[in-house]
Subunit: 350 residues, 2 copies
């Protein structure tokens, strides 16, 4: 069995990214959306069509819109397989149970990918590459599972089979709790004097970055997953109450910060899967056009691969600090190379 | 009055960075530390000496070690000016009041700079460039203020005069609260199934990054500033209790997330001072050495200045996404230039 024609209901970031990825692999794709502008844009981007009957329908709508399309899509495509992509799974199974779509024709899935920007215009064919894609296969027909597996493989993701209730608990911890805590922290800044905020450093910026996320998307996710979220928030509140009690006791605080270090160290690296160990090489450059080009010319001639980098400089300052992330051996090679060519390379750090 | 000989008591990250910066400017520097290894390393790095009497003593010790050195340093350098660099100020004034060092000879200061790594080996002469450096000038002798201002200017920082009690409230909000909340969040991961943590994305990583910070440093800061911190933690706890109560109400959640967005938007840009508005230009490149150099050659020939950038790619994938941060006009100019040269440039976003 091979995918020939996929209908994607919902032309936001995820739906359109799936459409782009499938179209590149030669699969026929039909994009649809309640919003005609989004549907047109998505179809223009995806540039695909098919005369085949639809063999897979993907629900890529907001969670709240799902139950309004289930019956209609099943009536139009009675032989098709069905999957969804929403970030909370138990609620979706309840919605499908209440519809005419039989549960064994529907596979709940969740691609663990996204961007801080939304909409068809932000879609990328490679959005799912190397990312986990959760499915909950229990009780689902074999042909539905095969089509979904083919889809996930075509998009370069790796499939993880996880019970919906366990999925919801896992994402409550690693995604929804951080979102709420980050929003709570950012909310505390509203009353503050502006001059205080001018003292903010990278710590505050990083710990509140996701507080910028979309409120309409998150109100749906939080309300759909409130059952898994509540005990996590209660446990957090208990730890917080305990912290407030022991704030003047240095031993308690040291243990508390150490507990946080241990928890933090459990998070794997940048792209899911195993953590990747980079070596960071700081280089001071002049802050003017042409310097970065020269630096990367040197990287190319040293045959090293730059995995990531950051730039730090202040306005009006004549130097900038570039930190390159490399493998340990590339960092050593590049450091020697750059020093021999007169660059201001500082000691690498892990 | 001009700085000729500065004695720095404490050879950690901050003390040694000050020493490096002053030495580069031709100021005589003596580094000292209880730990002989740290003192030797710092003096080797700083490479400076002076036969002049000490005109400024900088206390760069941990907060808890301060009161053990105050009397000794005042006895050795009775004509000198004195400053400290610790991140909590009210406690330091209490310590000095209880010592033989007269309060008018001592200026409480706090350079708002640091790194996630510590020690003399992590020191950088440019650590303070463009960063705020708080002083509390009330009641301090004019000659002490002049020497401190000269120091701050030599190191490229900008001086902000702020009452110690207000300073402590400000850093409690923008630095100490984020630290404790980030540690609390990371602590919640300790019991979790490892497979759940494999689903973690950038949101969890960013919001817990500072949970890796040093426990010994932070137990001192938290305990020294617990008076300013407690009301902030209590307010956070009240908001959290309220959130738990309203978790199933979509309107409340949407308002809550929006409140967080507003707070987040109040944080100024990367380097303190006013937020800078960048335009972000996404470009898909082949993931191989030489591509970044070519891209930055194009930036140089288009005469645009790249303010920041990120690289996103997955292992084994043949393309990477580079996002350049530029001024709006540079983004437009570069976008046109790159398109005309066949690069895969996507629509810029604010």
């Amino acid at each position: 069995m091979t995918l020939s024609h996929v209908k994607i209901v919902g032309s936001g970031l995820i739906g359109t990214s799936i459409g782009l990825g499938l179209s590149l692999k030669g699969v026929g794709v039909t994009m649809q959306d309640l919003d005609q502008r989004a549907e047109n844009l998505a179809n223009d981007l995806v540039q695909s069509s098919s005369d085949h009957p639809v063999d897979l329908v993907i629900f890529a709508t907001p969670i709240s819109a799902l139950n309004s399309v289930l019956d209609r899509e099943f009536a139009s495509n009675p032989k098709s397989a069905f999957i969804d992509i929403s970030s909370v799974k138990s609620k979706v199974k309840v919605d499908v149970s209440a519809s005419k779509l039989p549960l064994q024709r529907f596979l709940p899935t969740h691609p663990m990918a996204g961007r801080e920007v939304g909409g068809a215009e932000s879609a990328r064919a490679d959005l799912f590459k190397g990312r986990p894609w959760i499915i909950d296969s229990a009780g689902v027909d074999e042909d539905v599972l095969l089509l979904a597996s083919e889809l996930i493989e075509l998009l370069g993701a790796h499939q993880i089979d996880l019970d919906s209730a366990e999925h919801d608990k896992a994402v409550a911890l690693v995604s929804h709790l951080p979102q709420l805590i980050s929003s709570l922290l950012a909310k505390q800044l509203n009353g503050a004097d502006e001059s205080w905020l001018n003292l903010a450093g990278a710590g505050l910026r990083d710990s509140t970055r996701i507080a910028s996320s979309d409120a309409k998307l998150w109100k749906e996710i939080v309300s759909a997953n409130n059952q898994a979220l509540t005990p996590l928030l209660v446990a957090f509140a208990e730890d917080l109450a305990n912290l407030i009690q022991t704030l003047s006791d240095q031993n308690s605080i040291e243990k508390f910060i150490s507990d946080g270090q241990r928890g933090r160290a459990r998070i794997p690296g940048k792209h899911g899967g195993k953590a990747r160990e980079y070596t960071y090489l700081p280089i001071v450059i002049e802050d003017k056009p042409g310097q970065l080009a020269s630096l990367f010319d040197e990287c190319a001639s040293a045959l090293v691969n730059v995995e990531d980098l950051t730039i730090e400089h202040s306005p009006g300052q004549f130097t900038g600090l570039i930190t390159l992330a490399l493998s340990a051996s590339d960092a050593e090679k590049l450091s020697e190379h750059l020093k021999s060519r007169g660059w201001s390379v500082h000691s690498p750090r892990k």
